[in-house]
């Protein structure tokens, strides 16, 4: 790997104080090469989404260092960085303003960043995400969940970013729609040579999309795996194995293990 595109060193995010102090992210370091898809996997509360929010400066209270494309990420909103880094959120029902048309939603970044030629840019990103330009006059309630997520992806793409932060982009969608959105994300990445950081709790999605994955628990990275190691079940930590086996469904073996855990507890 040449010089990493993203370099995260000793990232820590804390919430609360005193007895309520929570180390949401407790010293995390990783590198991502340009054009790579890097996965973050773990259970709720493990800090995976918080990492994305720190990288995108949605959280500004963190320590450590983050560099993207050789430039350090500032602990404040930085318009120049926003053009490089964009985020797609989990819930397409919550991330689009219900009273804004698709056009208004897509025009906002263009206006904020003072770009010209808004109409052409909107047509281009809508086509790119597989929606006809006629969709620009629709409101979110006139769209299906999959179409909404396409609009959210279009909004992230309109500034021509280099890095997309994907926070559980398909977990609110039905499996058949999930397949369409995952295919779309793969196509876009190939066409635009984007880098992704993908947060998911679903090992199937991670194995399908990612080149490497970091397994998180309690704010730290337990281990980093290549997708080949993940698919072959070559993991070092028992916790990773537990998540991996649990993602296959309910089995007698896991049931026996849960019994042991109950007895031990």
């Amino acid at each position: 790997m040449s010089l990493p595109f993203i370099s995260v060193r000793g990232l820590r995010v804390r919430f609360g104080r005193g007895a309520n102090l929570i180390h949401a992210v407790d010293g995390v370091s990783f590198d991502v090469a340009e054009g790579e898809v890097f996965g973050l996997v773990g259970e709720s509360g493990c800090g995976k989404s918080t990492i994305l929010r720190a990288i995108s400066a949605l959280h500004t209270e963190w320590t450590g260092s983050v560099a993207i494309g050789g430039r350090p990420v500032a602990r404040r909103r930085d318009p120049a960085m926003a053009r490089i880094v964009q985020m797609v959120f989990q819930d397409p029902y919550g991330s689009l303003h219900p009273k804004h048309t698709v056009e208004t939603a897509l025009m906002e970044p263009i206006r904020i960043h003072g770009l010209d030629d808004g109409a052409r840019r909107i047509d281009r990103v809508l086509t790119e995400v597989g929606l006809s330009p006629a969709f620009r006059y629709r409101y979110p309630h006139q769209l299906s969940g999959g179409q909404r997520q396409r609009v959210a992806i279009a909004r992230a793409l309109i500034l021509a970013p280099r890095l997309l932060l994907l926070d559980e982009p398909t977990s609110a969608l039905d499996v058949s729609v999930q397949a369409e959105i995952l295919n779309l994300l793969s196509d876009i990445r190939r066409m635009e040579n984007l880098t992704y950081i993908l947060v998911s709790h679903d090992f199937g999605v991670i194995a399908h999309m990612c080149d490497r994955v970091a397994v998180m628990n309690h704010g730290v990275i337990l281990e980093e795996l290549t997708v080949e190691d993940l698919m072959q079940g070559r993991m070092r930590h028992d916790y990773t194995r537990e998540l991996y086996e649990a993602s296959a469904g309910y089995s007698r073996r896991l049931r026996a293990r849960a019994e042991d855990a109950d007895i031990a507890a």
Binding site: Q178, A179, V205, A248, G249, S251
Partner: protein
Amino acid sequence: MSEAILTVDGLSIRFRTPQGVLQAVRDISFTVGREKVGIVGESGSGKSMTGRSILKLTPPAAEVSARVLRFRDIDLAAADERTMRGIRGDRIGMILQDAKFALNPVQRVGRQIAEAFRIHRSASKAEARERTLAMLEAVKIRNPRRVFDLYPHEVSGGMGQRIMIAMMLIPEPDLLIADEPTSALDVTVRLSVLRILEELVSDRGLGLIFISHDLNLVATFCDRVLIMYAGRIVESLPAPELHRAQHPYTRGLLDSLPRIDARRARLPVLTRDPAWLAA
């Protein structure tokens, strides 16, 4: 399969809207014995509406019709609201996706479970408390006395779902309808909740209707699976044979799941055939 606890024949649910009649459930038939029956389908397939119609908890605008809707010896289709109140919670329990929203936020959880018991059985407060503590233990809560006095916001998601299960099981129902009971839970917590459900089904001999969108989970957890599409049951088969499903919709769903063991350049996308609606 033993004798049927629930028999559904020709169930249809319609909504009259200004845009015309919306057919949420179209003429479906199934039975549930002492077993775990999974109902899978995508959003809008009618699976939750089916579960609710058994307890007559569909919205007032819904028009429900069925040739037979029988629970044990009770004709649910003809039952009035008074009879239904005697059945809900007492003989048929329901577990919803997000237990913490289903619990009363300003009442201690122990009191809510005890109330469920006292409403259906004439019991003293002390007896209800004893039964509640025993039930909390039965759903593998380690310190029932402590949990008894907690408020819903003080418990975790997995604990909330166990409390909900305890509340539903304390009147000892014959049938449990679980609507996405583990979808909001982390995988490791999900396993322990499923194990509790499985034990209760086998030990107490109740029937379980397990509504879910998760094909893998249903295939591995349930005994039988009904696949719903656009308000119809398009296929019904034993859970271990789900991967041998014949219907193109089921096949399409299975194919479109990302796999952990085999990477494909693109995921096959489901193409919906209008003929499935007519079938």
